[in-house]
Symmetry: C2
Subunit: 250 residues, 2 copies
DNA sequence: CGCGATTTGTGCACGCCTTCACAAGCGCCT
DNA sequence: AGGCGCTTGTGAAGGCGTGCACAAATCGCG
């Protein structure tokens, strides 16, 4: 690949300035990078110095050709005949994903789900820190959850002024989500993770990702339905080769 | 479309038998059906009898052409010049997704996240019922959560024998997930929703969907990183037209 | 009864993503 | 030093999904 991203081939050292001019990565690739990163961390802890595309692909649950193409978009960080340097590749992916910078997360809605998210280990362990909790219910304001005090949603602007919130997480009921999103945007948040089952309308420069737990179940329900109808049909073998998938992508 | 799925045009009545022989729907379409369904329910409660593809598309946050193509895969349930009959379309989508049958869900891992999932309204309100909670930690066994008693994971086979579990939800730490998946499969579960950050290996006839909350944050982090590098670049206007996306492939 | 307004259903073209297959490159062993 | 085996990086092909643009169909009104 002729794409030489940031000067030195040493692989690091000049990270500071905003040099990137990103080789605009395919969205599908970006969605897989975190998976590769997790697999690499596991392998690294297992004592591996290098890993082949085949090995890493297996650990990440993807095709090895796809993995190589994905990584090739980042640059040439592998060695032919050997494989990828685990530590170097971790560093590269973390750089591309912007994980070398601590990103502050604000969570709105401390209900059932929000409560769990506030204490979810997976966030902290991967470089995200929830720095503020908000809720509209006065009964919840003041409550202490996993070391953080719940503040009223109206305090959002004040908190955002103090510490820049990189990402806002919405865990409110659907009815309140749009209003919360508007407030987050007004407070300067440009990335939102939405757990509320509704469509959010935001300016073009704001990124929204939606996670709807019930939708996942409904998709599984469809496949159950399909499998059931297959086995009940003539020649209905027990759905061998039904083609299960292993990702969410979206 | 010449696809006449189940005899009567009345819209229901002969649902019982496994007639389907599914017009194998594109996976992308399936993933969007639940979103359409939610939008339809909202519209129905709003008192709408019919809805145009344009209107429904807006409510679901998609392109109207895409919506029409998606729905055309189910059959012709719209009326030209008028739109779609809300009630009929709800019924059709629910049928395709297999939501006309109550599906029992078993949840394994009653930690932070599992606890929240056990009480998540979104499941019950869309036809899913969590019928059993499991955990490996003896300290948690016996605990009562949202009306259900936590049982030890070893009891899974016994419970599955009593009531068929359609879907298994894994909310354990990554280390335990594969073992739990194996036990679920052994108990006859053929659909798994995995919240643990790891790749599961299962037989071909078992469907796995993965939801990794940290991955979503990392994807957002990438876009934050990209946007930041753009604004720091010459001609760096505030990222207008950055192209945000609105779904997760989930 | 016919006409125009409206909306669905879909053929088609385009672009993205995946997958295959292989040349290029690297290290090791003799 | 040379050759051999292994692995990466990538050109090319195929498939899938999206979006446009329009013909077909339906309703309501004059």
């Amino acid at each position: 690949m002729s794409q030489q991203r940031h000067g030195s081939t040493s692989g690091n050292g000049d990270r500071a300035g905003a040099v990137p001019a990103f080789p605009d990565l395919p969205e599908a690739t970006i969605a897989r990078l975190p998976e590769y990163l997790r697999a690499l961390h596991n392998l690294g802890e297992g004592g591996a110095d290098t890993i082949s595309s085949e090995g890493l692909a297996a650990a990440a649950g993807v095709n090895s050709a796809k993995l190589r193409k994905d990584l090739s978009h980042l640059g040439s960080y592998g060695t032919r005949g050997v494989g990828y340097d685990v530590a170097l590749l971790i560093e590269q992916i973390e750089y591309v994903l912007g994980l070398d910078q601590r990103r502050a997360v604000g969570l709105v809605g401390v209900g059932n789900l929000g409560h769990a998210l506030a204490g979810y280990d997976g966030f902290a362990s991967r470089g995200f820190k929830i720095v503020a909790l908000f809720d509209a219910d006065p009964a919840k304001v003041g409550e202490r959850i996993h070391g953080l005090v719940v503040r009223h949603i109206d305090e959002l602007p004040a908190v955002a002024a103090e510490e820049t919130l990189a990402i806002g997480v919405i865990a409110t009921p659907a009815g309140a989500a749009q209003a919360v999103a508007d407030e987050l945007v007004a407070a300067g948040v440009t990335s939102i993770l939405n757990f509320a089952p509704c469509v959010l309308s935001v300016p073009a420069n704001v990124d929204v990702r939606k996670v709807d737990l019930a939708i996942e179940l409904q998709i599984l329900s469809f496949h159950e339905h399909r499998k059931a109808s297959l086995t009940a049909l003539p020649g209905g073998r027990s759905a061998t080769g039904a083609g299960n998938q292993e990702a969410v992508g979206s």
